[in-house]
Symmetry: C2
Subunit: 325 residues, 2 copies
């Protein structure tokens, strides 16, 4: 059952859903009704659409789906802050133009070398540290540093309606995973507190790590260099590596999530794909086809034919950030 096929069922179950609203930050639009109808369908024993709890796997993109991603990915802002801290202590680490631009917060200079330049900044800011120390450091940063325009901390910029959706799915027997292009250790540093998602349910981009006991203390160290990029075609690959099973529910917001939704909804039986459309310039941001981050074009073009739900942030959500009631 796809979104399109479930509208009638959605309307039928709406009154019952309203009695105990699992999604209070969602307006009573078709989007909310479609989600609830899908969940009712897969959780009703005896229904043709019933799915056993073990197979109720839901995957969520993170940036732009569970929290904001403008003006640039929060992980890049973190990397720049750490680069600046490190270079204040030891300026000799700034061995290239892009690293100098990074430490100075010069966005044009950072972007001048494209992905290669970003990787240089990530390697310096994320390397030479154990995953545990890295997670403590980024968790501290995410919960105390103010976002450049909203003034909220980054973890306050998670989306309240999506937090409710995660909780609702878990209460209905789903396992909820993050499948993000962001770094796996970065996301793990806040996902348990912010989303109730433990480290083993985070799939993300991975850097090279090594193990050594030579110092006397067995230690894993994050080195520079990426070993796996969990974006676009990488997302289904990451899902099969970590989860080993095709999900039945996938949520994203950009064309980087296209293949994850495509793979998820191509499976047999009931499937649900949804894209969060950033339409709310007043409360959050409005962007899609022409955005430098979170570009959404193919998804908008094909969602209708594929039966994917487009969530209109301005229309469908009565509250946006978890940190701003």
């Amino acid at each position: 059952m796809r979104f399109t096929g479930s509208l009638a069922a959605a309307v039928a179950v709406l009154p019952m859903a309203l009695l105990a609203d699992p999604l209070p930050s969602w307006n009573d639009t078709e989007a909310k009704a479609a989600i609830i109808a899908f969940v009712d369908g897969v959780t009703t024993p005896g229904a043709e659409t019933y799915v056993t709890p073990e197979d109720r796997i839901a995957v969520f993109d993170n940036d732009g789906t569970l929290w904001a991603e403008q003006p640039v990915y929060f992980q890049l802002l973190y990397a720049l802050d750490i680069l600046k801290q490190k270079s204040d202590a030891d300026p000799s680490i700034l061995t290239s133009d892009v690293l100098k631009a990074g430490a100075a917060g010069d966005m044009a200079g950072i972007m001048a070398k494209g992905e290669e330049g970003l990787l240089e900044i990530i390697n310096i800011s994320h390397g030479g540290i154990t995953p545990e120390d890295f997670e403590a450091q980024s968790s501290e940063w995410l919960t105390t540093t103010p976002h450049p325009t909203s003034g909220l901390t980054y973890t306050q910029m998670t989306y309240q309606p999506m937090l409710e959706l995660l909780s609702y799915l878990r209460e209905e027997g789903f396992s909820t995973y993050i499948v993000s292009g962001g770094g796996i250790d970065f996301i793990r540093s806040f996902a348990d507190d912010a989303y109730g998602i433990p480290p083993w349910q985070v799939v993300g981009t991975e850097g090279e790590t090594t193990y050594s006991a030579e110092s006397g203390t067995p230690t894993i160290t994050k080195n520079g260099g990426l070993t796996f990029v969990d974006d676009k075609e990488g997302k289904p690959v990451g899902i099969m590596r970590h989860i080993g099973q095709r999900p039945i529910f996938a949520a994203g917001n950009s064309d980087g999530d296209f293949q994850m939704l495509e793979y998820t909804t191509a499976g047999e039986g009931p499937r649900f794909g949804m894209l969060v459309h950033h339409t709310d310039a007043e409360r959050e941001y409005a962007y899609d086809r022409d955005s430098h981050i979170g570009t959404l074009a193919r998804g908008l073009d094909e969602a209708g034919d594929r039966g994917w739900l487009i969530v209109d942030m301005a229309e469908d959500w009565n509250r946006v950030f978890s940190g701003k009631p």
Copy 2:
């Protein structure tokens, strides 16, 4: 609390444990008492050794720890059978001496090129297939093909005492993971049925996979080539990639598991490391330092100092295989 420190406690709790024996295939030796004492320690609320369920992560090697691994790894026997089937249908795939040796079951010829030759056989026998089809094929093979010397099927050669240990730990709130040098998809094909371990709790060696929707059907394909080897130093790395948290309990049987036990037991708080020692030539096999498979030398030398439990298969188990009561 390590094994050495828990002997006194072990003896103290033994009578209670016997009342409802969670490990009936274990003899009433120090090994069993040490395991039960550890579990009691981490699950008793208020105890200094108490560990919350979220942190009760237990990792198990597979070959030689949860099932047998002689005369060679079962996955290699599988690979040779599939290679033979494929080459019977199309002899032109045998493009090298090692592949010809593989199809002919000529072990000396297979081993002549070492790991490179084995990888060639794995690539041909494990490649060009979706993970789902691969798992169906290997599951069928594992549950119907007789082992060359025991006559049991491979899944009947899981160790009954270890199945009981897995169940016991899960009943006591642990999450149980496999962390194996074997292929992740191969293990997933039987781990849920054989061990009660779902696909997302299997960490293993990984091959390159790609995603494509070009044929019209979104498909993941296993290609040749390894992207991650989950053995020795790779085991702690694989644990942190997949689980994202250091376990408190690790079980292995060979020096390939040394780093996994080292990393696990170096953490703070109560930790447990154990090595299954193959001492039972009558019921299973007897091998350690000089074995071509499952070599155990450093583990035997250092287990005492490190507080790891050595399980003596002949002494500590009253039953070996799950399939042979």
